[in-house]
């Protein structure tokens, strides 16, 4: 019963990472990624309760246990993408983990940033909801999920392109509608209930940013085609709808973080309003992520806010962007060390069939913030 043992390990791990106070479904990213074929419903219920999920999410987990690995993958992918996008910024999508001495529990992944209500919170909300949509939809297309399959709206009919070329729908179109429906259920329902109960604006903010993340995928859906004619000619062409790669979504959302982030008023009765008085009447657009509080500068370490600070981060001496030593180190200056990096060079193809390389060494100067 190898699976059983893995399950117990996964459960234990999930218990360890469950959050202290708030719900944080991102902890799913740290749970195992395998599905459990021979587990009773009762056992599923226990596992689902052991993650840091809110009541709505727990119910969904119990109803669709086989979707959970996809949700966990979505969380993992989105945190990875967030780290990749913010690699050169002062906030690099990491947070200090506090391990309190009296308990064995961790605080949840990016917990404090998620509750800060600032621009970074907005980005995480958007990218994680996009991550769920992406992973669940991929799960549908690959057949990992039983509840859904390919999008059968795009199945038949001869189409004509702009140059009078013929093509037809075929293959497996990504069922992004199912992914969106799932993400809405999983993330939005609880937030909506909470907003109706407490009327706090941060729930509205999360709802809006979740929507921005989902919509960014819909906007980037595109038709992918393949030709099947003799020697690759396009006599027969089949096309299907495909989602963008996840790093494209990350880039688009990073652009929104940089240029289309809007500060909203701290109070709201029904819907969000812009903080800028002159623009109060202008409704929020689908491509604008919203935040309430201004971000800290992330320069110095702050344990209570979970900020790591930029000390020891690698910076680029010649750059003028955010990764430049001047900006990243917040004016504190930098240290330089020399590293010998080895790489393969002078590669030659030897018949047949291998490649022969030499190992070269180069000395690079690495600058780290003081």
């Amino acid at each position: 019963m190898n699976d059983r043992r893995m399950l117990i390990a996964a459960t234990l791990f999930a218990l360890l990472v469950s959050p202290l106070h708030a719900y944080n479904w991102l902890t799913l990213a740290m749970a195992g990624a395998h599905s459990y074929p021979d587990i009773s419903q009762h056992e599923f219920d226990t596992i689902c309760q052991s993650f840091g999920l809110n009541p709505v999410q727990t119910t969904i987990c119990q109803q669709h246990p086989f979707a959970m690995p996809s949700v966990g993958k979505g969380a993992r992918d989105s945190v990875d993408e967030c780290r990749a996008q913010f690699r050169y910024e002062r906030w690099n999508c990491t947070e200090r983990f506090m391990i309190p001495s009296n308990t064995t529990k961790f605080a949840g992944l990016l917990d404090r940033t998620l509750n800060a209500g600032n621009r970074e919170t907005a980005f995480i909300s958007a990218i994680t909801s996009a991550g769920i949509v992406h992973a669940v939809t991929k799960g549908c297309s690959t057949g990992n999920l039983t509840e859904c399959g390919c999008d059968n709206r795009y199945t038949n009919g001869q189409m004509r392109g702009p140059n009078n070329e013929k093509w037809s729908w075929g293959g497996c179109s990504d069922n992004v509608d199912y992914g969106i429906k799932f993400a809405k259920q999983f993330l939005d329902r609880f937030e909506k209930d909470q907003f109706h109960a407490a009327k706090q604006v941060n729930h509205l903010m999360n709802l809006h940013n979740n929507m921005v993340g989902r919509e960014s995928i819909v906007k980037l859906m595109r038709r992918q085609c393949r030709c099947h004619g003799v020697s690759g000619s396009c006599e027969f062409k089949t096309c299907w709808q495909q989602m963008p790669k996840f790093n494209e979504i990350g880039e688009v959302l990073k652009q929104r973080y940089n240029h289309f982030a809007v500060q909203v008023a701290k109070r709201a009765k029904k819907r969000l309003r812009r903080k800028e008085r002159s623009e109060r009447k202008v409704p929020l657009r689908e491509n604008e992520i919203v935040f309430i509080n201004r971000s800290p500068n992330y320069c110095e370490r702050n344990d209570s806010l979970g900020i790591l600070g930029t000390q020891g981060r690698e910076c680029n001496q010649t750059s003028l962007q955010s990764d430049s030593c001047d900006l990243l180190c917040c004016g504190r200056g930098y240290n330089t060390r020399e590293e010998v990096r080895s790489f393969r060079c002078g590669c030659k193809f030897v018949w047949c069939c291998y490649v022969k390389c030499r190992t070269c060494e180069e000395t690079v100067q690495v600058h780290t913030c003081k």
Binding site: N297, C325, D326, L327, C330, G333, N335, R337, Q365
Partner: protein, 446 residues
């Protein structure tokens, strides 16, 4: 004496706009006029004093403006609020002030880079009476006075080299918490802030030695000095690349050698710790190395209609702005060092504190102690604090309001300035404009 007698408790602050060569009092203006009469471009314009720092009874110091409004220590005219800030006498603070004064008086021998004072005082250089002139210059050591006497015709260049070095320091640091306002050896601040072997002290040493060398070299090339001229060492060489050396190559070696002798004389034979001496000498040299390493070849074509049939080239120094920027880069990447006595060599050497980092070279700056954060005013360490500084609200860098004001927040004032707008050109030749009022938001650190 490294400090002026500390009796009045009043320090004249240089302004960030006025050239720190003084030009505030009459003597400085005279010096500038003399300099101008000799065919050199006058860099000195008379500036009224913007304010002076005062120690009041509470021990806090404030800046008294010309109109007697007292404002918190700041270096910006704009930041001074119009209302007076009341100060309450405080016995404890007064005691602290007296203690400080006594400490400073005791600290007679710890002058940091006191020769820079010659740039501030705007002293008059009388070439006919070298002895009296050199002895009257403030801040020179005995060796420097002797050197001054022998090279009295170079002293104008030295003075203006010091002035440009100070201006460049202020330019390079205008966006930082420490904005180089404090090297004023005439007052106590300069010596206090540079007394510790911080990165800032390293920068000041490098830029000042480079400043003197740059100015002396430039004056050599312009023919203002009798003892030196252009660098002729290249002329006889045949490069063979379709050009010939000609024109006036900058005689950097003369300038750096001159600067080294003069500036290093400040360090030797004076009561300061051995490690400080080594650090200062290293940084002086690093500043000069920037000039030598970044000398470049400039060329001009003389062929028909600008073609390059005939090309002459010469060696030329970078502008001092570039030199300042390079030294500022070195400031950012400066190495922390400590003194280690080698038992075999019987000689102390500077080694880096953290062996994982790269060894410093001759061109890198070194420092001994970490800098303070320069956030809160601390006169005993020569720190003016950032309260009252204007900041940039939109910047992410160190000049941004959050970092510059050290998270204390800032106040925003709207300032109205008269401007010209809707300008129209009428043929010929008149421009009509409408006067309009421009509103600018100014953010000032709390």
């Amino acid at each position: 004496m490294c400090f002026r007698p500390f009796t009045t408790g009043v320090i004249n602050l240089p302004t960030s706009r006025a050239p720190p060569g003084g030009c505030v009092d009459g003597t400085a203006r005279r010096a500038a006029e003399i300099y101008r009469q000799k065919g050199r471009p006058g860099v000195c314009r008379p500036f009224p004093p913007v304010g002076r720092a005062e120690f009041d009874h509470s021990g806090a110091f404030a800046i008294r403006r010309a109109d007697n409004a007292v404002c918190p220590p700041s270096y910006d005219r704009l930041s001074c609020p119009d209302r007076s800030v009341g100060v309450r006498p405080n016995l404890l603070a007064m005691l602290r002030l007296v203690l400080l004064a006594v400490l400073l008086l005791l600290c007679v021998q710890c002058r940091a880079i006191s020769w820079l004072a010659i740039g501030m005082s705007g002293a008059h250089i009388d070439h006919r009476r070298p002895l009296q002139t050199c002895q009257s210059l403030s801040g020179l050591t005995k060796r420097q006075v002797r050197f001054c006497r022998r090279n009295i015709e170079h002293m104008d260049s030295v003075v203006y080299g010091a002035v440009t070095a100070y201006q460049e320091c202020q330019h390079q640091f205008q966006k930082r918490r420490w904005n180089c306002t404090m090297i004023d050896p005439v007052s106590i601040f300069g010596d206090v802030v540079l007394k510790e072997g911080t990165r800032e002290a390293a920068f000041v040493h490098a830029i000042s030695s480079a400043g003197v060398a740059h100015r002396v070299t430039r004056d050599c090339s312009r023919g203002l000095l009798d003892k030196c001229g252009c660098d002729q060492s290249m002329v006889n060489r045949n490069p063979g690349n379709g050009f010939r050396w000609s024109g006036c190559s900058d005689n950097v070696h003369y300038g750096t050698a001159f600067s080294r002798t003069f500036v290093d004389a400040n360090e030797r034979g004076k009561m300061q710790s051995h490690e400080r001496m080594l650090m200062n000498l290293h940084n002086n040299r690093a500043g000069l190395q920037v000039l030598e390493k970044h000398i470049r070849t400039e060329c001009k074509c003389h062929g028909l209609s600008g073609s390059c049939e005939l090309k002459t080239c010469w060696r030329s120094m970078p502008s001092f702005r570039e030199v300042g920027a390079i030294i500022k880069d070195k400031f950012d990447g400066a190495t922390e060092v400590k003194l280690v006595k080698d038992s075999a060599e019987q000689r102390a050497r500077m080694v880096r504190v953290n062996p994982h980092f790269k060894r410093h070279t001759h061109t890198d700056l070194v420092y001994l102690v970490e800098s303070p954060d320069y956030c809160v005013a601390d006169p005993s360490r020569g720190v003016l604090g950032t309260s009252g500084r204007t900041c940039n609200e939109t910047s992410q860098g160190i000049d941004g309001c959050e970092l510059l004001c050290c998270h204390r927040g800032y106040i925003t004032k709207t300032q109205e300035t008269n401007d010209m707008c809707n300008c129209k050109f009428h043929y010929c030749c008149r421009v009509d404009c409408e006067p309009c009022v421009k509103r600018v938001d100014i953010h000032i650190c709390r």
